[in-house]
């Protein structure tokens, strides 16, 4: 008797739950790394998304509900996260994620289920290549690698490069190969390429070998977790060469962790910085809103991308006049000149955003926006 009663109660709750998943809300899922290696980037992007959600909480007269799942900087968890968002929370669009490997892992489920996924800062081309439902608001790595190579070779005149690559990260492997391609095409020489694994803390063996090859610049397409220690260890071993990196190195703590070792470090990034000289209207608004909401934290480009990802979905829903996943997908693919914080966003045929490549340099202990570079492809 008790069992039948329990079964009835369970069924009542299940049906009630399903009734509440009605059509009067728009459900957007978010999967980001909130713990683990990439927690920092994920946290910032989430805050950008939440800021945008605060500003644009309704669309087409319906309230927007955000469902946030932590992908723990782990590929398996990323796949679980999107599965959960699609099957349990029944979202109509997904935002995510920081980390190309994670975006690819999670994207498998979104693609299969036909739910549009908008990536924030995942730059490896494979994330959207050949996919119908995956998009992103950032540029892709061939552009970034070429930008870094152009700046190193043409602007700074550095002819010999070495690379230290994280073999466990699709982002690092991809970006390093694009850098190498562009750099050698311009006439530069890559004298050494050494590997490590995400999570490693000791790079002395690899760095000692690199220093022996006497490069002019060391390119480290790594995540900030390893980047600061690599630079510190390189300087401790007596390296005087320039060190450059990619967008995943962005982290305000870098000067605290790296100290003097990170002085002069240059990285490519997305074209937003709170102190950039020419800010578009959306960027100005975003910076103001951020300072109001988080007065103790500097606005950061990852947050800007999170904000853009959310806003672009809302814009697509408005244009499609529907919150149906297929309609959102079609509208996203047709996005032209959307005014984002990170610049005017047009989604091209491979579902990527075409944006200029920005440069950040650490001068006198501060991360300064140096300008933009036109990559020579």
């Amino acid at each position: 008797m008790k069992r039948i009663l329990a079964l009835c109660m369970a069924m009542i709750f299940a049906f009630a739950g399903m009734a509440w998943a009605a059509d009067d809300t728009v459900r957007i899922g978010v999967f980001l790394p909130l713990t683990g290696q990439n927690a920092f980037g994920g946290q910032l992007e989430l805050e950008g998304v939440q800021l945008a959600h605060k500003e644009a909480g309704t669309v087409l007269g319906k309230k927007v509900e955000l469902f946030v799942v932590d992908n723990k900087s782990d590929k398996v968890e990323a796949a679980n996260a999107t599965k959960r968002l699609i099957e349990k929370e029944k979202v109509q669009a997904i935002i995510g994620t920081y980390g190309s490997s994670l975006a690819m892992a999670g994207g498998e489920n979104s693609e299969k289920a036909g739910i549009p996924q908008v990536g924030t800062s995942c730059t490896n081309p494979l994330v959207t290549q050949g996919k119908k439902y995956i998009f992103r608001v950032c540029f892709i790595d061939p552009l970034q690698g070429a930008g870094a190579a152009t700046y190193a070779y043409k602007t700074l005149g550095l002819k010999k490069a070495a690379m230290l690559v994280d073999v466990a990260s699709d982002y690092a492997v991809g970006l390093s190969s694009f850098f190498k391609k562009s750099f050698t095409k311009m006439g530069g020489q890559v004298v050494a390429t050494l590997n490590y694994q995400s999570g490693d803390q000791d790079f002395t063996a690899q760095l000692t070998k690199i220093i022996a090859e006497k490069p002019d610049v060391l390119f480290i397409p790594s995540y900030f977790a390893e980047g600061a220690i690599i630079m510190k260890q390189a300087r401790e071993l007596g390296a005087t060469f320039k060190i450059m990196g990619g967008d995943a190195m962005d982290n305000p703590e870098i000067t605290k962790i790296g100290g003097k070792a990170v002085e002069g470090f240059v990285q490519t990034t997305f074209p937003y910085h709170p102190e950039m000289k020419e800010m578009n209207a959306t960027a100005k608004k975003f910076t103001e809103e951020w300072k109001k909401a988080y007065p103790s934290k500097e606005p950061n480009v990852n947050a800007a991308l999170g904000y853009d990802a959310y806003m672009i979905i809302i814009d697509a829903i408005k244009r499609a006049n529907s919150a149906d996943p297929a309609a959102i997908t079609k509208a996203l693919a047709e996005t032209k000149g959307f005014p984002g914080v990170t610049g005017s966003t047009t989604i091209n045929e491979t579902h990527d955003a075409v944006k200029p490549v920005g440069l950040l340099e650490i001068k006198d202990g501060k991360n300064t926006y140096v300008g933009e570079i036109a990559p020579e492809l």
């Binding site: 909130l34 713990t35 683990g36 290696q37 927690a39 920092f40 946290q43 073999v167 466990a168 050494a192 050494l194 590997n195 490590y196 694994q197 999570g199 490693d200 803390q201 000791d202 002395t204 063996a205 690899q206 000692t208 070998k209 022996a212 900030f224 977790a225 600061a228 220690i229 510190k232 260890q233 401790e236 071993l237 007596g238 703590e253 605290k256 962790i257 100290g259 003097k260």
Partner: protein, 297 residues
Amino acid sequence: MNVETFIQHSLNSLTLGSLYALIAIGYTMVYGILRLINFAHSEIFMIGAYFVFWGVTLTVLPWPLVIVLSILLTAGVGIMVDRVAYRPLRDAPRISALISSIGVSFFLQNVCVVFFQAIPRAVYRPDWMEQPLLVGNVRILPITLFVPVLSVLLMLGLMYIVYRTKTGLGMRAISKDIETSYLMGVPVNRIIAITFGIGSALAAASGIMWALRYPQLQPVMGAIPGFKAFIAAVFGGIGSIQGAVVGGVTLGFIEIMTVAFFPDLAGYRDAFAFILLIGVLLFKPTGLFGERAEDKV
């Protein structure tokens, strides 16, 4: 590779190996006495480093005092873990305590994520530690010399305790035969608590020195070094303190020298540690210094 580069690599290997050795001692002592592999040990290592971070950022106490307090606090945490998670399972099948230790490991890691957040944190290093010493073309950070020397001192201290004191006698008795030790009036629970305390203190010392050598803190920082130290302990013969030390230093050398001589294999660096583990288990499961456990009738 010239002589100077080789010396550079050797010093790095010695430092890394000493750090592994200190952690491995904790694993081996607990196994020797309780036949328990304490998976939470890698988190104790991490907590030791974090206590220093907390102490430095939240208090105005002088840095050396913060270090001493952290080591003592971490020893306390280790003793508490035994009291709460292992002592109640003393009479249960061995696997229960093992599973409990895995649970404690996850618990401690996630508690730290909650308290300290997952962002990598900077480690305070006094200025004199930041200046490398130059000997010819070899650049040595003071910490690279400091670690092996301090580790040797700690190990000598430990050997003194284990072989020259009554507590140490008790530890050796318990590792030989716990039942008889109870019968002979050895204060078993107290000695086990002291063992955990010492093992945890050594892990904390290692964690603090690790954080000084690789100045970045993350709640997951203990997982891989802890696991490698465990491999070192198995390699040296789990249950033997000398084995843990030799195993730790050897593993440090293997790790760094493989990358030094075969830089193309640098991405597989961790794999070598695991290959060593498999090799040891296949060919000499008792390790270098381990004793064959023979059942005497």
